[in-house]
Symmetry: C2
Subunit: 338 residues, 2 copies
DNA sequence: CTGAAAGCGCTTACAG
DNA sequence: CTGAAAGCGCTTACAG
């Protein structure tokens, strides 16, 4: 691979001038630019980014950290982020992290190694953010969880209001006449600021307002956000609370798994058991029956997140914390009773 | 962020010695190592990877190129690759490319910028590989498509035999008594070595052997590998060939979309229309009814691909081109008739 | 508009 | 075992 020195020699200009051509500076004569560009094209020269970044404070691309593979919801956001970045001619590389990994440690490492211009977190553990985000010095955005509790001007967040969304889900079931409702949620160990607590609290609040009884021990089970674990959790719930007529699942993947388990146990959806999920992933429009859900506006989250990040990269200012409106999608999986 | 120079000053040693400690060279006294490590820990020093890579030919991590977002099958492989890499203490970053992008151009750019030790392609256009893979000088693996036609010792490939898998899918339908079979495949424009041609040829071969009539014009429609396009294609197929009793879809995503379309048109699956897909994604075990499919062994592809790549990084040798066995999963979506 | 030169943060023979 | 120095491939004031 030729270096800038080779290009200089071959074109008859100095490496300084070659560098100016590469970086599109204007103070270059047309003749020099033409000659140098010709040599570059013919030689297949690619500037060494390590050397470039070593000199420039100017940093490289944007890095996206995705917490947990196998999460269709985050992958949906990821895809939309890529689309928006592309529209701005920006590119990004993606690092997938285990649920158990500390995303801030990973980010610090990448920050030191690659000097990204901006970082995007899809999913994240609030404990990690609160404890160590201050060590990060790159503009960042957290998507899908609220980070207003993290005290850093470098961080923005865009998320659905889990409490309100969950309240709405419970309300749909109650207003369809259901009074014996089970909930399949995430794990409480994800922390008080995680997804599970607010989603549980929102539903419970709604139950209280409508005077619907709710006993955590019998009516709530925990599950990972996957189809197979959703199935298992549904079987546990059915055993503990067989008289239920409706179930609220904290994610659509859980709902898909639960529906499978209900059918396998001989119940029909929605004739015997009504079902509502959370997220609004595309699958819910293809299941039979279609699954009701609380649709998070992934497109808005991606778009707002990208716009905010790119703006703050160019014009530093404090991050913001926005709630993105959700939409209640009531579909065939809910039966009106009573 | 402190530099190696700061660490040298603070520890009282030279930057050369600090460098040796960082890189675990043995020729350092215990005293020096202890003192320097202490300063590094206290200062939170992280070596600048750009500077490091500038000097060292030694390259950075592994880069994975994924062709097309929204491809559950490739995402499944991607997840398994990450798991295997982690077991080897290796990490990777992922670049998502549009269907339309040239993955080899993208790889050349990344190669020049980051000097990865190895590259993994999930999906790819054989035309691009054949035309320009020779410009790549990093060990690479193509997963999910056969690259034996690409003349380069640096490339291995691991893929399912599309022709045989497709033959098997057609055979399952025929042996269940079906004689009026439609096919929803990909686009022929993906090239003669793409997915569509061999998958079509395999099925047609099977039809011929069993003396089943097949007219491309009426019995075959093209679709992208997505649920929504699968639905649209299924409606077109139903219009052209309403007397069909079974459909072979070239991907599970198409099958899921097609099933939705059939139900919406008032047909039942499998009572009126039997269905078999291709890929074996997890979701086919949760649909109602469960969808029959040709399961590609993503786990084996990922494992073999990683092992081969890591070996060839350490011990350069010619790449290999392997076919990974598939499995016929005949499920509830197929009805035996006649 | 162009060139010569300093320097980015590191690694690594070369001496000692 | 340790230090001084050259050099990796680039960018960017500084002169002219």
């Amino acid at each position: 691979m030729p270096t800038i020195k080779d290009i200089a020699r071959m074109s008859g200009y100095s490496i300084g001038t070659v560098s100016r051509v590469i970086n599109n500076h204007r103070d270059v004569s047309d003749a020099a630019r033409a000659a140098i560009e010709k040599v570059i094209a013919e030689s297949g020269f690619q500037p060494n980014a390590n050397a470039k970044h070593l000199k420039q404070t100017a940093a490289s691309a944007i890095v996206i950290f995705v917490k947990g593979t196998q999460n269709v919801f985050l992958e949906d956001i990821l895809e939309k982020i890529q689309t928006h970045l592309k529209a701005y001619q920006e590119s990004a590389s993606v690092i997938f992290l285990d649920e158990a990994d500390n995303e801030i440690s990973a980010a610090r490492k990448i920050e030191a190694e690659r000097h990204p211009r901006g970082m995007i977190f899809l999913g994240g553990n609030m404990d990690h953010f609160r404890r160590s985000f201050s060590e990060i010095s790159t503009p960042a955005v957290l998507i899908s969880a609220d980070a207003s509790g993290v005290d850093s001007p470098l961080l923005s967040s865009f998320a659905t209001d889990d409490y309100e969304g969950s309240y709405a889900a419970a309300k749909v079931l109650i207003e369809s006449g259901h009074r014996r409702i089970g909930i399949i949620g995430g794990h409480m160990s994800w922390g008080p600021e995680g997804i599970t607590s607010p989603r549980l609290a929102g539903a419970v609040k709604c139950f209280e307002e409508y005077g619907i009884p709710f006993d955590l021990e019998t009516q709530f089970v925990s599950s990972r956000f996957s189809m197979d674990d959703g199935s298992r959790a549904a079987r546990r719930l059915l055993k503990r609370y067989p008289e239920l007529t409706a179930v609220f699942c904290h994610s659509d993947m859980i709902a898909i798994g639960a529906m499978r388990a209900f059918i396998d146990s001989g119940r029909r959806v929605p004739e015997d058991i009504s079902l509502i999920g959370f997220d609004g992933i595309e699958y819910t429009r293809y299941t039979i029956p279609r699954i009701a859900t609380i649709r998070q506006d992934t497109d808005a989250m991606a778009k707002r997140g990208i716009d905010d990040l790119l703006m703050r990269i160019s014009y530093p200012r404090d991050g913001v914390h926005e709630r993105i409106p959700f939409e209640v999608i009531a579909k065939e999986s809910i039966r009106t009773i009573g």
